[in-house]
Symmetry: C3
Subunit: 200 residues, 3 copies
């Protein structure tokens, strides 16, 4: 799964940049920016590994998942004056990361023999929990609880992967199809400003 690994690293970079950027906008010091960048990039996968009991988590076993987001956060801190110009392209890389993280999480949960609900939950968590921890550390109501179909795209991707698992579809193809569906939905949601109904 070299393509999946490459997409995973792209997603890690994008998530780290968006987390670090959130720290810069709040006037945090270098340490705060590093923490927000790293937590956003690896928080979801770490929580998934904690819950699946696959310890130590992925980021402690392959340290590229620590060095890469730390480096990205450092770069964002140094060059933050130029970042607004790349904020829009970052949203697309963020969508790539979201789709990849969801299918990796759902796929791993299936391999760990969870049921279908648990598998989708682990996928959604892998894709979104990093951002939730970032928002908690910034003392804000997590963005995902308030706005947009960010999470719905993850749910659909996870459900699709679980369903494809039950059909005679090659595993690699299933992963790519599910990831692509999340990425596409996410990009469409950005373009058309979709949102879920609210309680009123």
């Amino acid at each position: 799964m070299n393509l999946l690994y490459l997409l995973d690293l792209i997603g890690t970079v994008a998530f780290a940049a968006s987390g670090a950027w959130a720290g810069v906008r709040r006037g945090m010091d270098l340490f705060g920016v590093l923490v927000l960048g790293m937590v956003t990039a690896i928080g979801g996968g770490t929580l998934r590994d904690l819950l699946l009991g696959d310890l130590p988590p992925f980021c402690l076993r392959n340290e590229i998942y620590l060095w890469l987001p730390a480096l990205v956060a450092l770069l964002v801190f140094i060059s933050h004056r130029f970042l607004p110009k790349i904020e829009h392209p970052l949203l697309y890389l963020d969508a790539v990361g979201l789709g990849t993280f969801v299918v990796i999480g759902t796929g791993k949960a299936i391999a760990f023999q969870t049921g279908p609900f648990g598998a989708v939950l682990m996928g959604v968590m892998t894709g979104t929990a990093g951002g939730v921890i970032r928002d908690i550390l910034s003392n804000e109501v997590p963005l995902i609880m308030r706005r947009e179909i960010y999470a719905s795209a993850c749910v659909i991707g996870g459900v699709l992967l679980v369903l494809l698992q039950w059909l005679p579809v090659p595993n690699d193809l299933a992963l790519l199809l599910a990831a692509a569906s999340v990425i596409l939905l996410r990009i469409l949601a950005i373009h058309f400003n979709w949102s879920l109904p609210k309680a009123t």
Copy 2:
């Protein structure tokens, strides 16, 4: 322990409803309501299983603990206009859940050979951590840190179970006595508006 399992499911429903209701009151979208409902219902037991190293946690092994709170949260989201009318009865079901969760948590910790303080702590955490995570996700100081003897009832129930463990009391009876004491204390606290002393 079929009675305990039934009480556990009742508690799961009550906690999910109160969590989802908190999301509705804050104007969250469907996803936010689902997350708050589920986290309130299964957060405490999940944290307990994480700390005891019993992984994956209960909710990933028996998916009724995922489907049930998700369904309840969905129902609350759809029918939330009618919920104020059942808010008061819900408090009683919530007390049932609290007592059950505490004795399940303390009993499990004892079975995992923790000391007495650890056993009480795991019980209190099983009963209260879901609500704490709900409040953190809603960006509020956890209710339990500010008001009422909600937590004290849990502590008393956990201590009682640890003590009964050392006496020649049948295990099932000890669990029911301890759960009943929490439920009774909690209902009395609601009726008489009891609270702990504050630092002044």
Copy 3:
């Protein structure tokens, strides 16, 4: 390592007092003060043990790490009118705890075969995560994300220990040197009011 164990208990007392004190200042009730005191004292080490998969965590295996902070928090709650007078000496004990927690965390991670980045990360987390959880429960942006070189001292101590591990230095001496460097840096930072650059 009897000296290290003694320093660890001193740090536990200091962290518990600062956490409980934070609860008192926010007008919390006895339960809230206990929770903040305990979480500040044992939260970092518990998170480290969760991530390393060493479960149940240290505080559930040696209950002195539960009784001691609970007792300290109770004392702070009872005698809080006198605490402002000892706030300054507490800062020095807090520095001792910080240095000890960092080297214990980094040392344990090395023993668990993490890489160098992971080892430093576990050390920093052991020293700081308790305070972060305290601030999250108090609904504040974690202090460490906003101010001072508190965390930088931890990073330097962790890096120093990792480097000393690669040299022919006795393990005990390496631990003490690294702990002393954190303690010294922290005390100098308090005296000279050092801080990291901010994004502007």
